[in-house]
């Protein structure tokens, strides 16, 4: 039995089904991300786990305990809100101490535990400061310390890094992971940022339209997406409609806009499918080109070049590492090649599994 289990969890707002029979498990001590675009139901799911939103149907079990009917204040979860939701009229130490006071922890022990929590997030020197005098990153740490000090069974993070600027966000990603490991707390994070989810999590649950699209380790979600949605939402991907001509465990043949291409293995039967290939898996080659096309756009990203190449099968995004020399320019004709296993076959969206 997993530590946190969601079983066919459903939430309807009138005629709208925000969360549709979501089921997944979170193992003790692991870091799981609930990833999806806005409106996919991830925040509603978090609210239901936290106890702020009623469950329409389905079951949430935490450490063998059914959470149905347990009010939010008795669930004992640590929550970090997107806005941090700090108590602005209290100092850092008072903010962190609040949850312990509510639990009736005696003053002396409270002091020790607050100090330990602030030490964990490296904020001991700011314990007497008010939140309004602190930076976004510092407030974030206060929010984390406040959530962790009560030693929650489960830590819920609601878009914890989205209010930070890009550089700080990267720093806090590493910090967040360190703090989570040190505290050893089971963590569920809600985010729309796929890079954040991939970087932080042990497992990623991809949601779309209230349904689980895929649940896997970050590497597997990226490498073997189950649906066209996952493929395009996580990382960049060229997704094209095609027809599966034949296929078996060793590989397959697809036809796309009249061009026959060799693709990876698939369990699917012949018929309409989608093919997907990541921009960084396409090589620009002089010999042995699978496709040729004309560069129609070129963007310099610093460490990489992003090319758009018009080919017989459609426009393809191609990502080239910046090796210190100039790339093919707009209007140039280039040859493109890729390994057949990198051209993945996905069920066409109507027949999504």
């Amino acid at each position: 039995m997993a530590f946190l289990e969601l079983n066919a969890l459903t939430k309807r707002f009138g005629p709208v089904t925000a969360v549709d029979r979501i089921s997944f498990n979170v193992e003790q001590g692991s870091f799981v991300s609930l990833l999806g675009p806005s409106g996919c139901g991830k925040t509603t799911t978090l609210q239901m786990i936290a106890g702020f939103e009623n469950v329409t149907s389905g079951k949430i079990t935490l450490n063998g305990r059914d959470l149905a009917g347990v009010p939010a204040r008795h669930r004992g979860l640590g929550i970090v809100f997107q806005s941090y939701a700090l108590f602005m009229h209290m100092t850092t130490a008072e903010n962190v101490s609040f949850g312990l006071e509510m639990r009736g922890v005696p003053g002396a022990e409270r002091k020790i535990r607050v100090a330990r929590a602030l030490d964990l997030v490296h904020l001991s020197h700011l314990s007497d400061r008010y939140p309004r005098t602190m930076s976004g990153g510092q407030r974030q740490r206060v929010a984390l310390a406040r959530a962790l000090v009560i030693e929650p069974e489960l830590l819920l993070l609601d878009e914890p890094l989205s209010n930070l600027d890009a550089k700080l966000r990267e720093e806090m990603q590493l910090e967040l992971r360190r703090i989570q490991r040190e505290a050893g707390v089971t963590t569920l994070m809600v985010t729309h940022d796929q890079a954040e989810a991939l970087a932080l999590s042990d497992r990623v649950v991809v949601l779309e339209k209230g349904q689980v699209q895929q649940e896997a380790a970050p590497f597997d979600v990226y490498e073997t997406p189950h649906t066209a949605f996952v493929s395009s939402f996580i990382g960049k991907s060229n997704t094209l409609p095609a027809t599966l001509v034949s296929g078996d465990a060793s590989g397959s043949i697809v036809e796309c806009a009249g061009v026959r291409l060799q693709a990876g293995a698939t369990p699917l039967a012949a018929g309409p499918v989608q093919i997907a290939i990541r921009p960084e898996r396409i090589e620009v080659v002089d010999d042995g080109a699978v496709l040729t096309g004309k560069v129609s756009e070129r963007v310099f990203l610093g460490n990489q070049w992003l090319l758009t190449v018009a080919t017989p099968v459609g426009n393809l995004l191609v990502l080239r590492r910046n090796a210190g020399r100039s790339e093919a320019d707009i209007g140039d004709t280039v040859g493109l090649a890729f390994r057949r296993v990198d051209l993945r076959i996905l069920a066409s969206s109507e027949a999504a599994a």
Binding site: A50, G51, R73, I79, F81, S83, A85, F87, I150
Partner: protein, 266 residues
Amino acid sequence: MRRNGPFAIGFMALFALFMLAPIIVVLGVSVTPTGYLEFPPSGLSLRWFRAILDNPDFIDAAINSLKLGVVSATLATLVAVPAAMAIDRRRFHGREALLAFFMSPLMVPTVVLGIAFLRFLTLIGFNGTFSGLAVCHAIIVTPFVLRLVLASLSGLDRAVEKAAVALGASDWTVFRRITMPSILSGIIGGWVLAFITSFDEVTVTIFIVNPSTTTLPVRLFSHIAQTTDPLVASVSAVAILFTVAVMLLVDRIYGLDRLLIGEGAK
């Protein structure tokens, strides 16, 4: 920082003068040695301040006004805070109507209110009593408190309350420890505004006071109706000085910026 040009400074000086002029005139008139209203004063005399002591009904009226202001502002706050919480948080039928109802004393002409209160208080036998007066004033000043409390509630991040709940706080604890301190500047600001409004209310009050419960503005009004001596100026001057003293005290204890602008200023 951008500096203000001469035009802006001139304009602001003019504006400040416009705001301060009546106060300066009143203070000037109050120190006149003559027996009539005179500005600028021909000399310096505390004669009309001594005259206040010879007119204890002014002092009684001032005490009445203070008591009335405190009681009605407090009553209004006790009603307006829960009302504001309900209107801000709950989605119920008649929510808009309830808000309009609470705000209605602002819309109804005060003369009409005065006549209505007079009729009503006479009917239930409370006319001229302090409690009747206090309730009427509370009704008049409630909209001011409600507006300010609603404004500070709408600026409050609801996640803050959720965070407290998640940490184990009961509804009452959340209100006492989190919500109330967060909207305190709105509550105090509303109370002060209510007190001031009650303190210088004339139109309604004049209908429903009797000589024993008369308020300072009404007493001044009836004094002017009979005679025009600088006594009204000296009484007003005392009121102004009292206000300034209170403001200084509040600033010392709590900080005016914090009270008027909110938590952020310190």
